[in-house]
Amino acid sequence: MLFVCALISVATTVGIVFALFLPAFEFFGEVSIVDFLTGTEWAPLFEPAHFGVLPLIAGTLLVTLIASLVAMPLGLGAAIYLSEYASPRTRGILKPALETLAGIPTIVFGYFALTFMTALLRDLGIEVDIFNTLSAGLVMGVMLMPIVASLSDDAMGAVPRDLRDGAYALGSTKVQVATRIVVPAAVSGIVASFVLAISRAVGETMIVLIAMGQQPNLTFDPREAAEAMTAFIAATGAGDVPTGSIEYKTIFAVGATLFLMTLAMNIVAIRLVRKYREVYE
């Protein structure tokens, strides 16, 4: 009976793999996989239809890049403060408070990007479209910062005290201990937090659907509207596309691509976390 419960999570994985890859294979029976991966135009509903996924991947990568540039430095800075500077009491208050930021639903961040961040950027003199990658990326970075901070802080907490004391005994300052001893010793955990944040950014749907736009656009200008892979999936899934049609199958082709990208990153992150645990425990 208990084993049956455990099997449900296995069934979920098997279900995901079959649900994604069976229709995706059918899709690649009709559209060549080379055209899919190298085509620069995504227009599945037009005549003639184009199925080049690169504009969607570019949209996803650009918004992920912007989010990473916000989340990684801020998250790492916050983690060093929590781990090396804050008193246990301050840390006990700040860390849960930071984690509430991570508990806010993504739809709320999407609202914030659309109504607040875009207006703010325009007030600052940055000419952005109503839907644009920059707002979506900046807000996503704020959303991911607590994840980076929390996991990196855990990694730094696992660095043994002896290493710090040894460095102090040699006359190091607090800055030197933090940047040359603690951060390098916790590097695999920190990198794992970065990889997990990137994976979350790639899979994030609501912010990009609401604030980044729904027009495929092969551009690296963050002020323009574009479409991310997840936004395409959600926009197409929300419509009533007939089962078995080529539009229906595009959901699974793009979904399978997304799944493989995030899976690769998650495996790397899990490996890294396991590695740093083995070293010090």
Partner: protein, 280 residues
């Protein structure tokens, strides 16, 4: 001041700045939502169905559906999650390959993007099984989404029950099942409850999987388990898509309702954890 001390101060200031930016954004976000939404936060929002007139439009069907989904989710996820956790902690032989595979599988599932669960729901529940775009399918897909979180929380709660309690029960002649059901599980209940409520809070705020199974529709009647539905986060998304500015404010008011529900759940979870925390 020496240059070393100066550098130390500047470094600390920089770190504090990173932390401050995070909190500042949280405050700005809340202020923004409350400034936009408060004028529209009234009883009409809670008791009226959506409408094309923003002055009388409400989110009653969506709020009800979110409550139904919450109850169904707990009914599904707690037994399955706790069952899996008990199996892994108390019965599974770690040296067997299939048990290790099970653990890796759960870790990986926890990091699969939520929209992929939506695709699973669309392909299997809505189209494959022919369940249609119903509330039950939404609750089932959110169950699968937060199942890994509940399993991980329940495992930690079970693991924190000291072995001496198990040994004591065995010494009195209890069977393994008696040990688990009468000693280990009761002792682990606070941890399991806290984890389940936090998972519930996460599920209630999820939007993307429900979009995939067709919850973006105009629903003006109270939902049923086997009928079409829309949930509170989806209602916010639907309001945001409408062109009139007033609906954006209505979306903000609905966000306040959603945040209030989530805050209550989180506060309850923290209270449970502190009230029943036991040190062995």
């Amino acid at each position: 001041m020496s240059s070393r001390a100066l550098k130390g101060g500047a470094f600390k200031a920089l770190l504090l700045l990173s932390l401050t930016i995070g909190f500042l954004m949280l405050v700005v976000l809340l202020v923004d939502v409350f400034r936009d939404g408060l004028p529209y936060l009234d009883m009409a929002l809670l008791t009226n169905p959506p409408s094309s007139d923003p002055d009388i439009a409400g989110a009653r069907p969506a709020i009800l559906a979110t409550l139904y989904i919450g109850v169904l989710l707990l009914l599904f996820v707690v037994p399955i999650g706790v069952g899996t956790a008990v199996y892994l902690e108390e019965y599974a032989d770690r040296t067997k390959w299939y048990n290790r595979l099970l653990e890796i599988n759960i870790q990986n599932l926890a990091a699969v993007p939520s929209i992929v669960y939506g695709i699973l729901g669309l392909a299997f529940l809505v189209r494959g099984l022919g369940l249609g775009r119903v509330l039950l399918a939404g609750a089932m897909i959110l169950t699968l989404l937060v199942l890994p979180t509940v399993i991980i929380a329940a495992r930690e709660a079970i693991r924190s029950v000291p072995d001496s309690i198990r040994q004591g029960a065995y010494a009195l002649g209890a069977t393994q099942w008696q040990v688990v059901s009468r000693q280990v599980l009761p002792a682990a209940i606070p941890g399991i409850a806290t984890g389940s409520i936090l998972a519930l809070a996460r599920a209630i705020g999820e939007t993307a999987p429900l979009i995939m199974i067709g919850a973006v529709t105009y629903i003006s009647f109270d939902p049923t388990i086997l009928g079409p539905f829309t949930a509170l986060p989806i209602q916010i998304y639907s309001f945001l898509r409408l062109p009139q500015e007033e609906f954006k404010l209505l979306a903000a008011a609905s966000i306040i309702v959603l945040l209030a529900i989530l805050l209550t759940l989180n506060a309850f979870a923290i209270w449970l954890r502190n009230r029943y925390r036991r040190t062995w």
